[in-house]
Structure formats: C-alpha cells, structure tokens
C-alpha cells in the first residue's frame, strides 16, 4: 500500500511529459542530422575534388579533410538509422570526430604542413578547430554527444516510444482513479 502511493503519480507524470519531450528530442535530432548531412556533403565533395586536382600540393590537409568527410557521412547515417548498433556507431564516430578536431586543430596551430592554410587546400576541415567552417566542427560533436546521452534511456526500454503513441487505448484501470 505504502509503495503504491509514491509509485502511482510518477508514471502518470512521465506519461504526460514523454510524448512532448520525445517529440522535441526527435526534432532536435532531425536538425542535428541535417547539419551533419550538410557538413558531410560539403567536406566530402571538396576533399574529393582536391584529391583529384591538387593532392600533391597539400597532401596532409587534403587527406585529413577526406577522413573527416567520411566520418561525417558515417555519423549522419548512424544518427539517422534506428537501433542499438547504430546508436553505438554514432557514439564511436562522434567521439572520433571530437578527438579529430581537437588533435588536428592543435597540430595545425603547431605545424603549417598540417594546417595547409594559404596553400591550395585552404586548410582542412579540422584545421584550427574548424575555423574555416565557423567552428561548427568543434561544436557539433559536443551537441551530438548531448543528444545521444539524452536518448540513452530509449535503449533500456526499447519500445517505449511505440507504446506511448498507442496511448488512447486506456488499458490501465489505475489511471481512471485520478
């Protein structure tokens, strides 16, 4: 009896807030995925173009740009596709991305060969912490990690989102006694 009292209001509270919160989380996720997609297309197409044309003049920054482009493509897919495996892939790629932008950003400050600024490549995506891309490359993985962390609960109760969408069928008699 005493355990039923504190238990009872909690699920109802959560039920009211979950659909809205889930929708917002999904919305933020869509925005995040869209930004990733733009960055993926931009970085990859530019890197491919530079590899075909001027690769020998600035091999290090162009290779780094190509790697970052591939990572962005993988991260975009992993954020978009459902399931626990892709959730893990998203964590791995976004972590790698943050590591990459920090390491390459730092190296580019020390070594002009890595930075490539002023050369034909005009710098890699991750040079100087992504200054050429408005510092988005260093901010994005942090936002991505925050979003992934907020979704963590979904993977302990995998079908909770589906369950709340089928809410109108008031199967719970306890909710009637409010």
């Amino acid at each position: 009896m005493s355990s039923a009292l504190p238990d009872d209001p909690q699920p109802r509270d959560a039920d009211q807030s979950r659909p809205l919160r889930a929708r917002r989380s999904r919305g933020v996720g869509i925005v995040l995925i869209f930004v990733y997609a733009i960055l993926a297309i931009g970085a990859t197409s530019r890197a491919i173009y530079q590899m075909v044309t001027v690769y020998s003049q600035a091999p290090i920054p162009i290779t780094l740009s190509a790697i970052s482009g591939a990572i962005y493509i993988l991260a975009t897919l992993a954020l978009f596709l459902p399931g626990r495996v892709w959730y893990r892939v998203a964590w791995v790629t976004i972590s790698f991305e943050l590591l990459g932008v920090l390491v390459v950003g730092t190296l580019s400050l020390i070594s002009p060969a890595v930075a490539g600024t002023g050369t034909v490549s005009d710098g890699a995506v991750w040079s100087n912490y992504g200054i050429g891309y408005g510092y988005i490359p260093v901010v994005l993985p942090v936002l991505g990690m925050l979003w992934l962390r907020s979704r963590r609960g979904q993977f302990s109760k995998t079908t909770s989102v589906e369950a709340t969408s089928a809410e109108p069928s008031t199967a719970e008699p306890s909710s009637a006694g409010s």
Binding site: R23, R26, G27, V28, I30, V31, F34, V35, A37, I38, I41, G42, S45, R46, Y49, T53, G118, V120, D122, G134
Partner: protein, 122 residues
C-alpha cells in the same frame, strides 16, 4: 561573376535563414512564409547559376576554379530541395528550423562561391 548579385543573394539567404529559425523556435510549422522564403533562396541560386553560365560568355571568365565553383553551386541547389522535401514530409516546428539552417548554409556557401570564383589562391 557579378559580385553584387552574390552579396544580395547571400544577404537575402541569411535573412530568410534567420526568419525561418525564429519562426521555428517560436513553434510555427512550415507554411507559406517559411516555404516561400526557401523557394526565393532556391530561385536566387538558379539566378546564380544563370550568372555563372552567362559571365564567361560575355568575356568575364572566373579567375578561380570553375569546377570547384560548380561543385558548391550544385550542392547549394540541392540543400533547399532536401530541406523543403523534409518540411513537406514532417510538418512540425523543427522542419521550420531545418529550413532556416538550410538558408544560412546557403548564405555561407554563396559567399564562399564568390571567393572561389575570384580565386582564393594568393
């Protein structure tokens, strides 16, 4: 390339981007205003394409890389279409935010395209 066209296009795209972002964050679903703003940006990009085709023909060829310019332009042309398509599929406020981000990305890309056209290699 005609520089003023790129500047005007970038400014309008940036304004459209801010408009859609604000609309989206205030909870407005994609509607005539936001979709119209994105359509205008797409039209400006098509105008940019026309400018890029016409300019070398009238004796004003690029001093930078034309191929790189066109890669940017093609990607830029696709972005509003993707965002608009998404806004039609999923009609909620976040799609309006996506439309705004698309326009802002276009603004940056148009500025960048102008730099590429004139040649950014010192």
């Amino acid at each position: 390339m005609i520089e003023w066209y790129a500047i005007v296009a970038a400014a309008i795209a940036a304004a459209a981007g801010v408009l859609c972002l604000v609309l989206g964050l205030f909870g407005v679903k994609p509607g005539d205003l936001s979709m119209g703003a994105v359509a205008l940006v797409e039209l400006l990009l098509l105008g940019q394409l026309g400018v890029a085709i016409a300019q070398p023909l009238v004796g004003n060829p690029p001093t930078g890389s034309l191929v790189e310019f066109y890669i940017y332009l093609i990607v830029a042309l696709l972005i509003p279409l993707l965002a608009g398509f998404w806004a039609l599929v999923e009609r909620d406020r976040w799609s309006t935010v996506v439309l705004g981000i698309a326009c802002l990305a276009i603004a940056v890309m148009v500025v960048r395209m102008n730099i590429i056209w004139t040649g950014h290699i010192a």
